[in-house]
C-alpha cells in the first residue's frame, strides 16, 4: 500500500483549490485523483462565460477559470493523477483506486478531501410518464456531447426545468441551429439566474412556461411529441390545459445531486437536506481527517463560492495534518422557517467567526434573515431579494457568537410586514 499525506478525490475546481490551499499551508505530499482524462471537472464542458467575477474581477468561461487553477497547480509539486477512479473509501482513510496505468491500488492517506462534485437528476428520479423512446437527455449530458464531443443531440427541442444548465443549453443549441420550442418549469418561478433567463431565453424569444410540466411523452423509436400541461398550486396537472409540441429532443434540467457513494461507504454522516456530508465550520465531516467541499457538499451555482469554500477545507486539512484539532463544545445550526438547509451544520463554540451558507425555500422581497438562540436574536440581516436559485450567506462575528448561551442557533426568514 502506498502512503500520501493528503489525497484529494476529484480534480474539479473544488479539488484544485483545496489542494492549492493545503500546499500554501505547507503540506508537500499532495495527490489529486481524477477519473476523467483531464482536470477541471464540469467546467470543461461549461464553455459559456460567467465564471470568476468575484474571484478574478473579470468574466471568464469555464475552461478559462479551470485553466487558471490548473496553471497554479503546475507551479507546485502537487500531483494530479487522471484516468483514476476511486472505488472505495474506508473510515481509516484507505482509498481503493483503479487506473489503466497503475491497475488496482490501495492508498493510505493522512487526510482526505472529498471533492467529487454532483450529478444530474434523471428521468427516473422525477418519474415522467410516457413512452421510453430515445431523444431524452439530461441537459448536462447534451452539453457534454455538444461541447466536448461535437455532436448535436437534436433539432427541435423542449426543455423541462429552468435550472441554469437547461437555460444555457437553450441558448447553445439555438446558436448551433436547433429550434428550442419551450422551456417548461413546474414551479411558479425559475430555478435559474435572472441573467440566464434574459440572455438565454428572452434574447432568442424562447417561451418560458412557469407552473407547467410534461405530462406525456410520445414516440416509437425516437421522441416525436411531448405534452405539456399547466399545474395547480399543489402541482397537479390541470385537465384541458394540454399543449402538444412536435419535437425530437427533450432535455431535463431538473436538479443536481451531490455524488456521495464514497462518503456513504466510509460511513460519513449525510445530511438528508443537502444530500452531502454533515460538516463542521472547517468542512470536516463526521470522520476526523476527512473533509468535503464544492458540489459534493451542497450544490453551488457560482464557482467562485466553490473555490472559497474549498480553500478553507484545504487549509483545515493542512492544520489537521500538522496535529491541530478543532476543539470546543458543539453548537448545532437549525434551518428555521423559510430556510432549506445550512452549511456548516454545526460548529465549535469559541471559533473566530462562522459563515453560514443556505438556501431559502421561496422568493422573498424586502425580507430579513434572523439568527436566533432560542428566543434571543443574535443577528439580523436585511435582504432586498432572495430566491431558492441563489445561495445566501451570512457571517456571524465572534462578538455575537460569544452571546450564544444554548447549544443551537436557528437561521430563519422574517417576511416583510404587509
Amino acid at each position: 500500500m502506498t502512503k500520501h499525506e493528503l489525497v484529494v478525490i476529484g480534480g474539479g475546481p473544488a479539488g484544485l483549490a483545496a489542494a492549492l490551499a493545503a500546499w500554501e499551508q505547507g503540506v508537500r505530499d499532495i495527490l489529486i485523483l481524477e477519473r476523467d482524462k483531464e482536470a477541471g471537472g464540469i467546467l470543461n464542458q461549461c464553455i459559456h462565460n460567467g465564471f470568476g467575477l468575484h474571484r478574478f474581477k473579470e468574466e471568464l468561461t469555464g475552461p478559462e477559470y479551470a485553466g487558471r487553477f490548473i496553471d497554479l497547480v503546475k507551479q507546485t509539486d502537487i500531483r494530479i493523477r487522471t484516468d483514476t477512479m476511486v472505488l472505495d473509501l474506508t473510515a481509516d482513510r484507505i482509498l481503493h483506486t483503479v487506473s489503466p496505468q497503475h491497475g488496482y491500488e490501495a492508498i493510505q492517506a493522512g487526510a482526505v478531501i472529498l471533492a467529487m462534485g454532483c450529478r444530474e437528476r434523471t428521468r427516473g428520479a422525477i418519474s415522467i410518464p410516457g413512452a421510453r423512446c430515445s431523444g431524452i437527455f439530461t441537459a448536462g449530458a447534451a452539453q457534454r456531447f455538444l461541447n466536448i464531443e461535437g455532436y448535436m443531440v437534436g433539432k427541435r427541442v423542449v426543455i423541462l426545468g429552468s435550472g441554469d444548465i437547461g437555460l444555457i443549453m437553450a441558448r447553445r443549441m439555438t446558436l448551433e441551429g436547433a429550434k428550442v420550442l419551450a422551456c417548461v418549469e413546474l414551479m411558479p418561478y425559475s430555478g435559474g439566474l435572472n441573467r440566464n433567463i434574459v440572455q438565454c431565453l428572452h434574447d432568442f424569444d424562447i417561451p418560458l412556461y412557469l407552473s407547467h410540466t410534461v405530462t406525456d411523452i410520445r414516440g416509437r423509436d425516437r421522441l416525436e411529441q411531448v405534452v405539456v400541461s399547466e399545474v395547480d398550486e399543489r402541482r397537479n396537472p390541470i385537465p384541458g390545459t394540454e399543449m402538444v409540441f412536435d419535437c425530437d429532443t427533450l432535455l431535463l434540467s431538473v436538479g443536481l445531486l451531490p455524488e456521495n457513494e464514497l462518503s456513504r461507504q466510509a460511513g460519513i454522516e449525510i445530511d438528508p437536506r443537502t444530500n452531502g456530508p454533515v460538516v463542521w465550520e472547517n468542512r470536516e465531516t463526521s470522520i476526523p481527517g476527512v473533509f468535503a467541499c464544492g458540489n459534493v457538499l451542497h450544490v453551488h451555482d457560482l464557482v467562485d463560492y466553490v473555490s472559497a469554500e474549498s480553500e478553507s477545507a484545504g487549509a483545515a486539512a493542512a492544520a489537521y495534518l500538522q496535529g491541530i484539532r478543532a476543539e470546543g463544545e458543539e453548537v448545532r445550526l437549525i434551518p428555521g422557517s423559510g430556510v432549506g438547509y445550512t452549511v456548516p451544520q454545526h460548529f465549535h463554540r469559541g471559533v473566530e467567526n462562522v459563515e453560514i451558507f443556505f438556501r431559502v425555500r421561496n422568493i422573498y422581497h424586502n425580507a430579513a434573515i434572523r439568527v436566533t438562540d432560542g428566543e434571543k436574536q443574535i443577528a439580523r440581516f436585511k435582504r432586498e431579494h432572495m430566491a431558492p436559485g441563489e445561495m445566501e450567506n451570512v457571517r456571524i462575528p465572534k462578538v455575537l457568537l460569544d452571546r450564544i448561551a444554548g447549544n443551537t442557533l436557528t437561521v430563519e426568514i422574517e417576511e416583510a410586514a404587509q
Binding site: N44, I47, H48, N49, G50, L53, E59, L60, T61, G62, P63, E64, G67, L146, N147, I148, E149, G150, L175, E176, L193, N194, R195, I197, V198, Q199, D203, D301, L302, E390
Partner: protein
C-alpha cells in the same frame, strides 16, 4: 421607462432605463448603468462556442474577446463553424480577427497541446 434585468453579473439587478436620457436606476453598481444604457442604444453579447480540431481532441472552446452587437450573433457563429484549428493553441490566441465585421476577435479559451 424601460424595465430590464442587468446581465452583467449573477446578481441580476432590476433596472429602469429612461428611453430619452438613458438614465438608469435600480443598479447596484456602475456597470449596471453602462449595461442599461447600451441595452437600449445597441445591445451587445459575448458569443462562446467550440471549433473543430484536427487531431485527437475533438473541439476547442472559443469566445469573442469582447461583447459584439446582438444582431451579429448568428453571423459570428457561421464564421466560427467554418474554422479548423491544429495544435498548439494557447488560451487567448486570436483565431478569427474582427469576426463578422465587428471589432471583436474570436480567441481560444483553452490550451491545446
Amino acid at each position: 421607462m424601460k424595465e430590464l434585468i442587468c446581465i452583467t453579473c449573477p446578481k441580476g439587478c432590476h433596472l429602469k432605463v429612461d428611453e430619452e436620457t438613458f438614465a438608469v436606476t435600480g443598479n447596484s453598481c456602475p456597470r449596471g448603468a453602462v449595461y442599461g444604457a447600451n441595452e437600449l442604444r445597441s445591445p451587445v453579447r459575448v458569443v462562446t462556442s467550440t471549433v473543430v480540431v484536427e487531431g485527437p481532441a475533438r473541439r476547442l472552446p472559443v469566445k469573442t474577446d469582447r461583447p459584439i452587437p446582438k444582431g451579429k450573433m448568428f453571423a459570428v457563429m457561421e464564421e466560427i463553424a467554418k474554422l479548423r484549428v491544429k495544435a498548439p493553441v494557447a488560451v487567448g490566441d486570436i483565431l478569427i480577427p474582427n469576426v463578422a465585421g465587428t471589432d471583436g476577435n474570436v480567441v481560444a479559451t483553452k490550451n491545446l497541446q
